[in-house]
């Protein structure tokens, strides 16, 4: 009941004209970011953060804007999967399996519409899940002491590579690097300068927003240039939409199952959207594919992974909002924005900033509705944008990213740092070191160190305090499992995913 009251208050925030405007702008921008080649959701959100910041938007407005972008990017990612058989991002890969064959049959518009509806159902159900689960988890998390938090942060890093992670040591290296960057600056609890070498600019530490934009946007530009990928994709046209109520009803059960599975995958550490869409596709194939039409353009084969990955996207917000521990690259970027707006995520968020949290949750509902309404009539425009060649797009994206960084503090030095991080990001990607743990390390570093110190100060330097409650032992065990499991089952799942990828290619 309490939850419902809060949700109603949330809608009061989300339905103000200002919030609706930000939700609409965010949805459109998000779909563009998802649809345009070369701009992943994490990248897109990262570029927008400094803009939201320097515009002086309130935390609520910025978060509504960026969560709508996040939701929109999930919608946009499927457009190129269906029309061109090129997944916009990793979770959209499974959508290619039936989406592209359906488009080849001349039913591209139907495929896009079905995927929009399934995405809507996926997000909608998962947002309901978020409303139910988040307050419970937040209440539970109030029991966490510093040693539990330390274990939780360790868990977040251990599972970040995901169940399909290839090289756990590279994830570990990336996380250490991120945490090390976070340690630069004046130490908050003792006032000692660390790794600043008396450079004034480093006293406050390295600004993670600058690092994120550099790591993502600038390294992406360098990769585009190296691969000579400036020409872009071929132009496609879409037929006129002929969708009946019957078609929608046919994919409804599949979408609902996909949404639930996706939500669970999103909440669990280490699973994420890719696995969400993969599981829901495989399950539906086993469950309803009696005629063997999956993989040949079955509408249900589009609905399942789309509902799954959108469900997972909303599910991933649960650990981010309640524990302050994001499970994916994009939620990590959203966390970066919360921290830079001086909002501390975690269990206290639900009591101290109830307006903000519930406003954002309500805005997710509004944003999803906006996305559904936008996507069906405006799909033609988004499709046209798909054929904008990156050689025109990437320079402008670089310009917008730089202007955003510049306008935060009007200093050219920040831009030099951004370029520096771009070069680092390029090198890290070349040696196959994931960037997301680096960013997560920069974000969580101060909190992680603080909880370690609190725990040890309370215990008078006794290290066993880190393992002395049932809860922290549980968290550590999950963390260790998260490190070891991918080594055992990772190759099996990767092989399965690769097999389905081959089906797409052939």
């Amino acid at each position: 009941m309490e939850t419902l009251n809060f949700l109603m208050q949330g809608f009061a925030v989300a339905l103000t004209p200002e919030s609706i405007m930000f939700a609409i702008i965010g949805s459109i921008l998000g779909t563009l970011i998802g649809a345009l080649p070369g701009l992943g959701p994490a990248n897109g959100v990262a570029i927008l953060i400094p803009l939201a910041f320097s515009l002086g938007l309130s935390p609520t407005s910025s978060l509504i804007l960026l969560t709508s972008v996040y939701a929109g990017a999930m919608y946009g990612g499927r457009i190129s999967s269906i029309l061109l058989n090129i997944p916009g991002d990793e979770p959209a890969m499974m959508t290619c399996l039936d989406g592209y064959p359906m488009a080849l049959k001349g039913k591209a518009a139907e495929a896009l519409a079905i995927s929009a509806i399934a995405s809507f159902i996926g997000s909608f159900i998962a947002t309901i899940g978020l409303v139910i689960l988040a307050p419970i988890l937040a209440k539970f998390a109030l029991k966490f002491g510093p040693s539990e938090y330390f274990a939780l942060f360790a868990l977040a890093f251990a599972t970040l590579g995901g169940i399909t992670g290839k090289n756990q040591f590279k994830t570990l290296m990336a996380a250490s690097l991120g945490l090390m960057i976070a340690s630069i600056g004046i130490d908050i609890s003792s006032g000692v300068q660390r790794y600043t070498y008396n450079t004034l600019e480093l006293f406050e530490g390295v600004d993670f927003i600058i690092a994120i934009v550099g790591l993502f946007a600038i390294s992406e530009l360098l990769f585009f240039i190296e691969k000579h990928a400036g020409e872009g994709l071929k132009t496609v046209t879409v037929n006129k939409l002929k969708l009946t109520m019957g078609d929608i009803l046919k994919v409804l059960p599949t979408s609902i199952r996909g949404a639930l599975l996706g939500f669970v995958a999103g909440v669990l550490p280490g699973a994420g959207a890719s696995l969400g869409s993969f599981i829901s596709y495989t399950l539906e194939k086993k469950l309803v594919d009696d005629k063997g039409t999956f993989g040949e353009g079955d509408a249900r084969g589009i609905a399942a992974p789309e509902a799954g990955n959108n469900g997972a996207a909303s599910g991933a917000l649960v650990p981010m909002l309640t524990l302050g521990v994001p499970g994916s690259g994009t939620t990590a970027v959203l966390l970066a924005m919360l921290i830079s707006l001086n909002v501390t995520p975690g269990p206290m968020l639900f009591t101290q900033n109830a307006d903000l949290v519930w406003g954002v949750i309500a805005a997710l509902f509004v944003g999803n509705l906006v996305l559904l309404l936008l996507n069906i009539p405006m799909i033609g425009i988004f499709v046209k944008l798909l054929s904008v060649p990156p050689k025109f797009l990437m320079p402008i994206v670089t310009l917008v990213a730089s202007v955003g960084i510049y306008s935060v503090s009007h200093s050219a030095l920040d831009l030099y740092f951004m370029v520096g991080f771009g070069v680092i990001g390029y090198i890290l990607r070349k040696v196959d070191i994931p960037l997301v743990p680096v960013i997560l390390g920069m974000l969580l570093g101060p909190e992680m160190e603080k909880s370690l110190r609190h725990a040890l100060v309370l215990s008078d330097g006794e290290w066993s305090v880190l393992f002395n409650s049932g809860l922290s032992i549980g968290l550590w065990s999950v963390a260790i499992l998260g490190l070891i499991l991918p080594i055992i089952v990772g190759p099996i799942i990767r092989a399965k995913m690769a097999k389905s990828k081959k089906v797409v290619a052939s």
Partner: protein, 146 residues
């Protein structure tokens, strides 16, 4: 060849050692040392970075190809261009600097010269007007101020 990981791992090992040694040299905080000081966490980190660096050197993954020399020069050119743009925003002003960088990037990505200039001029002026007038974030005018 599995050289990338070996070389990178070696650099990371050096970084881990240097980072860890630096941490032991932090001045003692005011009020005497405690069981956990500013150096505790960094030392743990250097340990983890060290382990993963050694693993990377012992069991390297197959290499991703590095660009050949002309491409490296090209990429360095891009990096220098963005740095030059960053430097030029204030003395030259946003519009000239942005026209230059957008045109240069588009040209290096394969657009023809005419399209580059059109793109550079229109995008720079649009963004300038958008930021200055709609979003009210002042960008420097520079040379155009006169």
């Amino acid at each position: 060849m599995r050289l990338n990981d070996r070389v990178f791992g070696m650099f990371m090992l050096i970084l881990a050692v240097v980072y860890g040694l630096e941490a032991t040299k932090f001045p003692e905080p005011f009020g005497g040392s405690e069981s956990v000081g500013p150096e505790t966490f960094p030392i743990i980190l250097s340990f983890f970075l060290g382990i993963s660096a050694i693993y990377m050197m012992l069991k390297p993954d197959p290499d991703e190809a590095w660009p050949v020399t002309p491409m490296l020069l090209e990429l360095s050119g891009i990096v220098l261009a963005i740095l030059a743009f960053a430097w030029a925003i204030e003395p030259l002003g946003f519009i000239p600097a942005a026209i230059a960088i957008v045109s240069y990037l588009a040209w290096r990505m394969g657009a023809n010269v005419k399209m580059c200039l059109i793109l550079g001029v229109t995008s720079s002026i649009t963004i300038f007007l958008l930021f200055n007038n709609v979003l009210e974030l002042a960008l420097p005018l520079g040379l155009l101020e006169l």
